[in-house]
Amino acid sequence: DVKVTQSSRYLVKRTGEKVFLECVQDMDHENMFWYRQDPGLGLRLIYFSYDVKMKEKGDIPEGYSVSREKKERFSLILESASTNQTSMYLCASSRQGGETQYFGPGTRLLVL
């Protein structure tokens, strides 16, 4: 079974802090994704990566950056957290050319 893990289930941070969300997958997938999920809006893509050190902006990249130094790990960085970044963050992975994405359990981030 594909396993996607996220470093934290719940996180509370203060405005202005730098925040790291980590995601690891164990299926040697080429593609990895970061989404945020907000009520009534579904999932919106922040960034994705199709290879080590490669990244592409999604629909809502502002205020976020990403890092992919190893194939299995994809990090989402909030350079200076703001209250409007309070959300559920979901990581996913898929194989190259594959359509099915496999999701982690999510990190619920609260920015005070």
Partner: protein, 113 residues
């Protein structure tokens, strides 16, 4: 461009009765369509997917969906609801063999005893 519209934000059924969750899609390309389920405080789990093979797709836990090109719909059904089906359901469209997935806003299913 592609998008999905989930026609109901909330559906409530009684245990043992049929479930219908409605989804319409828009796509300029040959679409792939998915239904994912999210139980409380969990990640998304794939229920089923359509990728230009049979138009009636069977998924896990007794769910199925029918692709109707003429109606641009991909509704999710189950003959008999179970309490464990209570969750949020997302309809998703992507371009075939492409990773750009577009999610609907979600439908929350409540199952009453």
């Amino acid at each position: 461009a592609q998008s999905v519209t989930q026609l109901d934000s909330h559906v409530s059924v009684s245990e043992g009765t049929p479930v219908l969750l409605r989804c319409n899609y828009s796509s300029s390309y040959s679409p792939s369509l998915f239904w994912y389920v999210q139980h409380p405080n969990k990640g998304l789990q794939l229920l089923l997917k359509y990728t230009s093979a049979a138009t009636l797709v069977k998924g896990i836990n007794g769910f199925e969906a029918e692709f109707k090109k003429s109606e641009t719909s991909f509704h999710l059904t189950k003959p008999s609801a179970h309490m464990s089906d209570a969750a949020e359901y997302f309809c998703v469209v992507s371009r075939e063999n492409n990773n750009d997935m577009r999610f609907g806003a979600g439908t929350r299913l409540t199952v009453k005893p």
